[in-house]
């Protein structure tokens, strides 16, 4: 029964992952610790394998919709081993409570940025939510850090979006 419930929860985690572009670990881990009584470390390690499987399918679907910048994705992915190593070392050295509070603080900051974007003014030129932070230099849509990043308005959305098949593909 608990396994069936965990499967339902993980299915919902997959939906959330597809909606917002995460692997779903934030859902998978508690599903395993709470419903399947797995330890935190085993649940996190197991969720990583699930994330690998789920994200392959998710990336494949998003690519078919023209929503993947393969160059930036590869750059982020290939640079991550440095961070992964740092993270594993930190996880073994720093008290878990401190890690949790630190991550919570970062999550709240990101949430604040996204809420401002969700409810902020719309960029009149692109029709896309304008970044209200003021942190980015003018013309940041051209992406100072990556020549492969598209103009902000390229994938501008809204209820009147054309069907996926009609949208331009990622360069």
């Amino acid at each position: 029964m608990d396994l069936a419930l965990a499967m339902v929860v993980c299915g919902l985690g997959g939906v959330i992952g597809g909606l917002i572009g995460v692997g779903g670990g934030a859902v998978f881990v508690p599903a395993m610790t709470i419903l399947l009584s797995k330890g935190q470390v085993e649940a996190e390690a197991t969720s990583l394998l699930m994330i690998a499987l789920v994200s392959i399918v998710g990336a494949w679907r998003q690519r078919s919709y023209g929503n993947v910048n393969a160059r930036d994705a590869a750059m982020i992915g290939l640079l991550s081993p440095v961070g992964v190593l740092v993270g594993v070392v930190i996880a073994n050295e720093v008290p878990e409570r401190a890690l949790r509070i630190g991550f919570a603080a970062l999550a709240l900051y990101m949430a604040w940025r996204l809420l401002r974007r969700a409810f902020g003014p719309e960029d009149p030129e692109s029709g896309q939510p304008a970044d209200p932070s003021g942190d980015d230099p003018p013309g940041a849509a051209g992406s100072p850090a990556s020549g492969a990043a598209p103009p902000a308005g390229r994938e501008s959305a809204g209820a009147g979006d054309p069907p996926p098949a009609a949208r331009p593909t990622t360069p």
Partner: protein, 111 residues
């Protein structure tokens, strides 16, 4: 920087890094929500595979059977999620993401 930060949090918390990648792509590279989420998933493929190799290989903590059983509904879910995402306003994606981040923060502190 995004890759390194995402990798660090992946190693720390067992999350794939999307919770870091998507907001950074939007805030730092001016990505739209859909492109940010799609690119994030593609990056997570690489990140998660590397993390599994590290965690599973070094510590032997991966429960492959459970992972495969739970991955099946999750894969159906992500296909549905990406499908739905193409049909809702991008602002809604930011809003959903913000709510999730707040929930994660609460779980981290209170859990």
């Amino acid at each position: 920087m995004i890759g390194t930060a995402a990798g660090t949090f992946s190693g720390l918390f067992g999350v794939g890094g999307g919770a870091v990648i998507v907001p950074m792509l939007i805030a730092l590279l001016a990505y739209g929500e859909r492109l940010a989420t799609g690119t994030s998933l593609a990056a997570i493929v690489v990140i998660a595979i590397i993390a599994v190799a590290l965690q599973g290989g070094a510590y032997g903590n991966v429960d492959i059977g459970t992972a495969l059983i739970l991955a099946v509904p999750a894969i159906f879910g992500i296909v549905a999620g990406t499908f739905i995402q193409q049909r809702i306003p991008e602002r809604t994606v930011s809003l959903i993401f913000a709510i999730l981040l707040i929930a994660v923060a609460a779980e981290m502190v209170l859990g």
